[in-house]
């Protein structure tokens, strides 16, 4: 079902008119109210009045993750803080997260956009929607909660409840729509098998999954194991949260909510736009955000624009499912991790060298495991003393776990096993999850 046909099926000419109006107003407010943009536009010598069409977006400077981190916490806000009614933040790469503010209108619009995502997957007021995303600083839990309520679904905010309780609720409350990460869906399906809960006892029919990339193979596995139709969607906290793009019933690419976000795909090296159908880095400009407008935000996510229009009736452009990242960010159970975070923790600890390798695996039940192998320092005097080694290892494990915000395992390896003689590091990420 199309939640907002008036806006989701606008003719391209009318959509373009709306986009240029909103873009010009956004640029005006960004220049007037955000010091970062005032300086960035002046530095590039760009007059925003010269932006006369959506294609003129190319004249504007990019915004990067680093820009947002440097402006921590409130530097990118376009309104006084007492107009902000909610603050979300990213998990944080080097200790400092990115803080994103929402006005009352931002929340309203966000809610509508997530309602579009859910409607497109066929969720309606007849559904019981179980939300297994964590409700916290990240946006997925709250975003889906509000959107599901908007379309009138009966929302069950289960967040991080134990798997046993998730299954009990799913069976007894007649959950029909599951919302969470795809890896959690895998985890759930294995637990169902272990506890001998047959699918016939469940009312589950649809799943809306996101916050990490997942393959078509994983999709068909989830669909088979849970007896559902699974839909992908895309969003990020910096832009708003979930609600940037989503699959419709055709499941042939993700429709971008183009009346609220302008999409570009660029070559991450030359920064030039690439053609339709060519893979590159996704760049988004917000068109209606009041508290935190973003101009040409480089997401680091790799995808392409799908040519042609969709048979579903929506006129919006579609993007492909994500194929990877431009940087070395890895996503484990919905949490973003950068190797630099690990490096920073290791650097402050005596007895180890800043050489490490991250090994990612996915268990049969869909749980991701993360093992960090760290090289012991050669002058660590007591490598043969098990007690001290274990103390170092477990200390490192808890420090890293705390910094990354998830459970992981640390194993110490012999000196000079992770760096080659010429000092170059070995590949520091080994991702076995898609194998």
């Amino acid at each position: 079902m199309i939640y907002d046909p008036a806006n989701e099926c606008l003719s391209r000419a009318n959509l373009e008119q709306l986009q240029i109006e909103r873009l010009q107003a956004t640029l005006f407010r960004a220049r007037q109210n955000v010091g970062f943009y005032r300086k960035a536009l002046a530095a590039e010598n760009v007059e925003i009045e010269s932006v006369r069409s959506v294609a003129d977006l190319r004249k504007l400077p990019f915004t990067t993750k680093e820009d947002l981190i440097q402006n921590y916490p409130y530097g990118m806000f376009a309104l006084p803080l007492h107009d902000v009614v909610r603050l979300h933040s990213t998990s944080g790469t080097t200790g400092k997260p990115i803080v994103v503010g929402y006005t009352h209108n931002d929340i309203q619009i966000w809610t509508q956009l997530v309602a579009r995502v859910l409607s497109a997957a066929g969720v309606s007021n007849r559904d019981f929607a179980q939300i297994s995303f964590h409700y916290g600083q990240t946006t997925a839990g709250m975003g889906f909660h509000y959107g599901a309520e908007r379309i009138g679904a009966s929302v069950i905010p289960l967040s991080g409840e134990s798997i046993g309780r998730q299954i009990m609720v799913m069976r007894d409350y007649r959950t029909s729509a599951l919302i969470g990460t795809p890896s959690y869906a895998m985890h759930l399906s294995c637990a169902l098998k272990e506890q001998n809960v047959p699918l016939s006892e469940l009312a589950l029919r649809v799943g809306i999954f996101g916050a990490e990339s997942w393959s078509e193979k994983m999709r068909s596995e989830i669909e088979k194991n849970l007896g559902i139709k699974a839909f992908d969607n895309y969003g990020m906290t910096e832009l708003i949260g979930p609600g940037v793009s989503f699959e419709c019933e055709k499941r042939n690419g993700l429709h971008v909510n183009e009346d609220h976000f302008l999409i570009e795909v660029i070559d991450p090296v030359t920064l030039d736009p690439v053609g339709i159908g060519t893979e590159g880095e996704l760049v988004f400009t917000t068109l209606t955000r009041e508290a935190c407008p973003l101009v040409r935000y480089r997401t680091g996510d790799l995808a392409s624009i799908i040519p042609g229009t969709c048979e579903c009736g929506r006129t919006s452009v579609r993007m492909s499912r994500l194929s990877g990242r431009t940087d070395d960010m890895i996503i484990v159970d919905g949490t973003n991790i950068f190797p630099a975070q690990i490096e920073q923790v290791i650097l402050g600890i005596e007895g180890v060298r800043p050489y490490f390798r991250i090994v990612l695996d996915r268990l049969d039940d869909g749980t991701d495991t993360i093992v960090v192998q760290v090289e012991a320092s050669p002058d660590f005097p007591s490598l043969d003393r098990l007690g001290q080694v274990e103390k170092l290892r477990s200390g490192l494990e808890s420090r890293l776990g705390e910094a990354l915000g998830l459970k992981l395992t640390v194993s110490l390896v012999e000196p000079k096993t992770l760096n080659s003689p010429d000092g170059k590091k070995y590949r520091c990420i080994v991702d076995n999850r898609s194998k």
Partner: protein, 244 residues
């Protein structure tokens, strides 16, 4: 209905509008709010062809209005109710209305024009009662009705209002705005420029906020009423909380 792109306009080389993009869909009431001197009237005059824009595009029902004369623009179904009414005070109500059909006063159109009179009098019975009076002897609210009636005499499909509430008592403003809402129900598309943001956003579907020649915000009326900047600048809210 109306589509404006990158409109640049002003007076004798002084640029007032710095690239305005906006639109009005058929059957909508769209409001433009903003402070004195923001450029609201300049925008209406540039759309109506009274001012010749320097640059940009104005399309009404798909036809380019840029190089059209005012009478051609009226022929396209566009009418302007100007700020301050601009009536002819020493002409009667009926004569003022008759001027609204000036561009169609040729032979054979008389019956049509009489129909226009009838429909304006049906909308504003007060004008019928006073059709023989001088316009200058009417009250402020009645003069505004006359100005609106005169614009309707040209059978426009698209009507623009410039500060319809100016100089009127609150009760009369309510009346005038109700009449504007009524026009929409009769199939007219409406663009209103208004300083009284609270009043106009009650009847408008959408709105734009203008500041020093640029549109800095757009949204549904509900969104604009919720916007903190609009509340501070145009609805007189929150001053106390700012002072704290």
């Amino acid at each position: 209905m109306l589509r404006v792109r990158n409109l640049v306009s002003g007076y004798g080389g002084r640029r007032v509008l710095k690239g305005i993009s906006m639109h009005v869909d058929k059957g909508e009431i769209v409001a433009i709010i903003g402070a004195n001197g923001a450029g609201k009237t300049t925008l209406l005059k540039s759309i109506a062809g009274i001012l010749k824009p320097e640059d940009g595009e104005v399309l009404l029902c798909g036809s380019d209005m840029k190089n059209k004369k005012s009478d051609e623009i009226i022929g396209l179904g566009c009418a302007l109710v100007p700020e301050g009414r601009e009536l002819f005070p020493f002409m009667t109500v009926r004569e003022n209305l008759n001027l609204g059909s000036y561009s169609r006063q040729k032979k054979g159109k008389r019956a049509e024009i009489q129909e226009n009179f009838d429909s304006v009098y049906a909308l504003f019975p007060r004008l019928k009662e006073r059709q023989g009076q001088f316009a200058g002897s009417l009250s402020g609210g009645e003069q505004q009705m006359l100005a609106i009636g005169r614009a309707l005499m040209g059978e426009p499909s698209f009507v623009m209002f410039d500060e319809p509430s100016m100089g009127l008592a609150p009760l009369v403003i309510k009346d005038i705005l109700l009449n504007i809402a009524l026009l929409r129900e009769r199939g007219k598309t409406i663009l209103v420029v208004e300083q009284n943001a609270r009043a106009i956003l009650k009847i408008a579907d959408r709105g734009y906020v203008m500041e020093s020649g640029s549109l800095i915000l757009s949204g549904t009326s509900a969104e604009l009423l919720e916007n903190a900047d609009v509340q501070r600048a145009y609805l007189g809210k929150e001053y106390s909380s700012i002072a704290e």
